[in-house]
Symmetry: C2
Subunit: 218 residues, 2 copies
DNA sequence: TAAATAATCAACCATATGCTTGATAGAGAA
DNA sequence: TTCTCTATCAAGCATATGGTTGATTATTTA
């Protein structure tokens, strides 16, 4: 910056015979969404490591200056991707069925995790990237914590309900078990399990333990 | 900055009285180790995203060309860091005690995980980075898989032994439970648990389940 | 229809980055 | 001591990268 750039003598004025494609001009919110979605896919594929504003612009089919018009800095773009991720997790959660048993609610957690794994692999990938970046990025750390806390709370309530109605072990350490469930889903995200079946079997072992005996523990 | 850099009139060549520090020249293996360890710490702190050959060279106190003399490409350096990680995981595992019970061996897995978490946080961080990068990097994917497989096998053997001697539930799905244990440790690495106590409680809930009843489930 | 607004672009800028080149000098071998 | 080997460095190269500037033009408003 700070340089005088007055004399723009470079021939940027193609006299007459230049094929000038008509500019496609979109509303800010539409264009922004396109940009965010491209960035999202890029992160899913190559991680933050491979995120380049130029590449995103090219994917969207716009000049990189236009991208910076919508998202002044790369961090602004990343923040928008974070919001995108968060809202999609909210939107695509299976809603609780009225009168569903605690055991069914637990099963629902499992099914949701599996749904994302099988049908929203990009969300899983981006989530993984965000968790990885969390230790280094305050904004992302906050987002991840919000997700985990909300999730932990859902699980905690299911466990509490099961204990109250007697369908889950009364002597279960609820906090610990809640974290256990989150961990198992994280095992899926981190690809600790060898297969979907392995994950299902693991989750159901855990479910057995939660329900087992219904009153007394080993 | 922004200045033309040709005429280096700044007194960088004081005619004759230049304080020339003697070169510290080390054997290739010693210097290589220093480089790898610096890279390791850098990845622990800033991830692959923040890994810069120049920065590593500066940390070690050498010219970046020297770094490239020891590690021709950045990938070579990363490969060396991978080997470093792997060998440290091997070296610092608590050795199995002769005649130790299956339950004790299980406890040992827990203690090892906690040891790394509390006393080798950099290894945990680097491990996390590697797992994150695994989907995009064949070499790292292979490394991570080796680590997981070896670990899974250790756990599998412990579970088998416990079942054989009757101290663990006979009807336990061994593969699933093994993955469950790995997952829980992964929960620690991914910071799903809210505290070390939370992790300990979770792990012990799981241990209870493994031992509970010792014969019949559900 | 004319003026104001704002989405878009081409061309740049400053700096970062992986890696190379050619010369220098420390350390062990002869 | 002299010679060879190689770890080391200063300088540089080519490209990548986040971001800026000033003009242009589609759309909306007056």
């Amino acid at each position: 910056m700070t340089q005088a750039r007055k004399t723009k003598t470079t021939g940027s004025r193609p006299t007459s015979s230049k094929r000038v494609e008509p500019r496609t001009r979109l509303h800010a919110d539409v264009r922004s969404k396109m940009i965010v979605e491209s960035a999202f896919r890029s992160i899913a594929k190559d991680g933050f490591e491979g995120l380049r504003t130029r590449d995103i612009a090219a994917l969207v089919g716009i000049n990189s200056a236009t991208l910076h018009h919508h998202f002044p800095t790369k961090d602004d773009l990343i923040a928008a991707v974070a919001i995108h991720l968060q809202s999609h997790f909210r939107l695509e959660k299976t809603p609780a069925v009225a009168g569903e048993s605690a055991a069914d609610a637990l099963e629902r957690q499992f099914k949701d995790a599996l749904f994302y794994y099988q049908h929203r692999p990009e969300m899983i990938a981006v989530y993984r990237e965000f968790v990885s970046r969390a230790p280094r990025d305050r904004m992302i750390r906050k987002l991840v914590q919000q997700l985990h806390d909300g999730w932990r709370q859902d699980v905690g309530e299911i466990l509490k309900r099961g204990q109250l109605d007697g369908s889950f072990r009364a002597d279960l350490n609820r906090d610990a078990t809640g974290s256990l469930i989150l961990s198992v889903v994280w095992g899926l995200i981190a690809q600790v399990f060898q297969s979907v079946d392995d994950f299902a079997a693991g989750f159901h072992e855990l479910a057995k333990w939660i329900k087992a005996g219904q009153g007394s523990g080993g």
